[in-house]
């Protein structure tokens, strides 16, 4: 009797497992036919970055998802939002789910997803510069106030020069205005740069361009995150720290000096199968605060 029971339990469990995978594989066959049908009554898949991320911080502030309650700023992002801590997962999720919405740095935007216009303005470097596309954030570098590394100083001068800012704009970011031509002192030595993974790609290009101007210098780029970048700049393991957000007061009070080296736009992305082209700030906000749960509620 016992054996029969055991076999019965096992077979039920096995059947359950088979049923789930069976349903799954069955429906992929129909996926191709349903891909073209857009059903706006389906739930929106809201994808957001993790709490504390520079991209998320800028996004919630600019779209008004952050509200002030009793003097405290409260992040009103809906609890139902899927959270990821990587840009590639964000892009893969939105590219694979017709009803998804997410946001990425303009420099990371690729062909697999569609960036929507916000209040009629397309997410391009020109529109951010002219101010018609309002969703942007600063890229900061931070150094200690008493920095005594000639290479690091010279490199910062390079970044803040015409040559350096050209690299910034070539990579899809928005350069800083009012810069002069670069006058290098050709120091030799080594500087360590580290921090935000959002800034790292453009910093790598800047370092390459700088090495052509000054072959004496050795630059080492380490990628981690904004907070590590700042704490390491304070304790001296990085000469230059990178942060894709504004510096916090507690970081500034530890003797850090911030310089904005570029501005980055944040693109709101949807799946390519999504017919939505243009959204208002209010509509994006209503999705991220959880007021609108399906696409037909947004477009109404």
């Amino acid at each position: 009797m016992k054996m029969k029971k055991f076999i019965a339990v096992c077979s039920i469990a096995g059947m359950l497992a088979a049923a789930v995978t069976g349903c799954g594989s069955g429906s992929t066959d129909s996926k191709d036919s349903s891909a073209s049908e857009w059903d706006s009554s389906n739930d929106i898949t809201v994808v957001s970055r993790e709490d504390g991320s520079g991209t998320r911080g800028a996004f919630i502030e600019l779209f008004g998802v952050q509200e002030e309650v009793d003097g405290d700023k409260v992040d009103m992002t809906t609890e139902g939002a899927q959270i990821t801590n990587s840009t590639s997962v964000m892009l893969t999720t939105v590219a694979g789910d017709e009803y998804a919405i997410g946001y990425v740095s303009l420099g990371s935007l690729d062909e697999t997803v569609k960036a929507v216009k916000i209040d009629g303005a397309e997410a391009t470097a020109e529109n951010i510069k002219s101010g018609t596309y309002k969703v942007s954030r600063p890229f900061n570098i931070a150094t200690k106030e008493d920095l005594d590394n000639e290479v690091a100083e010279d490199f910062i001068n390079f970044i803040m020069s015409e040559e350096g800012q050209k690299v910034v704009s070539d990579n899809g970011y928005i350069p800083v205005d009012d810069v002069k031509a670069f006058e290098g002192t050709q120091p030799s030595g080594k500087a360590v740069i580290g921090g935000s993974s959002s800034i790292a790609p453009v910093m790598e290009k800047l370092a390459e361009a700088y090495k052509e101007v000054n072959p004496n210098a050795e630059l080492e780029l380490q990628t981690s995150d904004s907070t590590t970048g700042m704490t390491s700049a304070v304790d001296g393991s990085y000469d230059i720290g990178m942060a894709s957000r504004e510096l916090k007061d507690e970081e500034l009070s530890q003797g850090l000096k911030a310089t904005v080296i570029a501005t980055d736009g944040i693109a709101v992305i949807v799946n390519k199968g999504n017919p939505t082209e243009d959204m208002s700030t209010e509509q994006v906000k209503s999705i991220y605060t959880g007021e609108a749960l399906s696409w037909d509620e947004v477009t109404e």
Partner: protein
């Protein structure tokens, strides 16, 4: 003779130091975790930290109850999918398998253990998530559920974890079954039991403690798994209402937010690590208990 005694002593010392390294590592991790995590727990309030349902670090709300529930749900799901398949596979490998199939089968299960978890995660993200999403939407259209979910959630994470714990369960269970003395099985046959009956009523009950140890080790792996789960679980900090909804596990909570956390937020994440550590301690303790019991039998 004298020099020999000296080298003997010396090498003994070397072995002793090597043995101490792992103990020291565990001790250091313990000290680090508790020294950093416990003050944060005190500051937040121990009860609020464990039972609080709101996790909003920006507003100083640190409740990890949703994450504890998340870890439990996902692990339970992994057991539901992984244990039956794992046990039946090991029974097949130990008692039924023709020699020609055995080698490739064994190699395949071992390879399964060697795949990096981020690869599992990417597989889940690209293959499993769309399946479950379509499954959820079909269910919603049929009116069975109110919300379809979006593919990332408990069900997806459970399926993936179930797959990931297979090698642990298969390996331990197979060796447990093989360790049962041959005459148990032969005795059952001699008494007139069929092949199946001998296996399921004599051999497996005799290997019980090894099988359970395998399951518990699998649970340990499932609780501790991070990368793969982050990519397919959705990571919402709520208590999910259905299997299709997203969850965040304890491990995911730490990894996702560690990069940007400062101050109390960072300490709260380390305190999450303390809770996780206690979970793992309980699991290891129960494995030790099972082993001791099996030795007595």
């Amino acid at each position: 003779m004298k020099s020999k005694a000296w080298t003997e002593k010396f090498m003994q010392g070397v072995f002793f130091i090597a043995a101490c390294a792992s103990v020291l590592a565990v001790a250091l991790i313990c000290v680090f975790l508790f020294a950093n995590g416990v003050p944060a727990m005190k500051e937040i309030g121990f009860v609020e930290f464990i039972t609080g349902k709101m996790w909003k670090p920006n507003n100083d709300l640190y409740g990890i109850f949703p994450m504890i529930i998340g870890s439990l749900y996902v692990t339970a799901g992994a057991i539901v999918f992984g244990v039956p398949i794992g046990i039946l596979t090991s029974v097949f490998m130990a008692m039924y398998c023709p020699k020609a199939i055995y080698k490739p089968l064994k190699a395949a299960t071992e390879l399964l253990a060697g795949i990096p978890s981020v690869v599992y995660g990417f597989f889940g993200l690209v293959v499993l998530v769309p399946w479950i999403r379509e499954f959820g939407r079909t269910l919603k259209q049929a009116g069975i559920t109110d919300s379809s979910g979006n593919g990332s959630g408990i069900l997806t994470a459970s399926l993936l974890l179930g797959m990931m714990i297979l090698p642990t369960i298969i390996g331990t269970t197979e060796s447990a079954i093989r360790a049962v003395p041959e005459h148990y099985y032969e005795g059952a046959l001699a008494l007139g039991a069929t092949h199946e009956r001998s296996i399921f009523t004599i051999v497996i009950p005799a290997a019980k403690s090894g099988v359970i140890a395998g399951i518990v080790l699998g649970i340990g792996r499932a609780v501790g798994e991070t990368m793969a789960v982050i990519m397919v679980a959705g990571n919402q900090t709520w208590i999910p209402e259905s299997l299709l909804k997203g969850v965040r596990t304890l491990t995911a909570n730490i990894v996702i937010e560690m990069g940007y956390a400062t101050g109390l937020h960072r300490e709260a994440l380390i305190a999450t690590g303390v809770v996780l550590f206690v979970f793992i301690l309980i699991i290891n303790f129960s494995v030790a208990l099972l082993k001791r019991r099996s030795e007595h039998e």
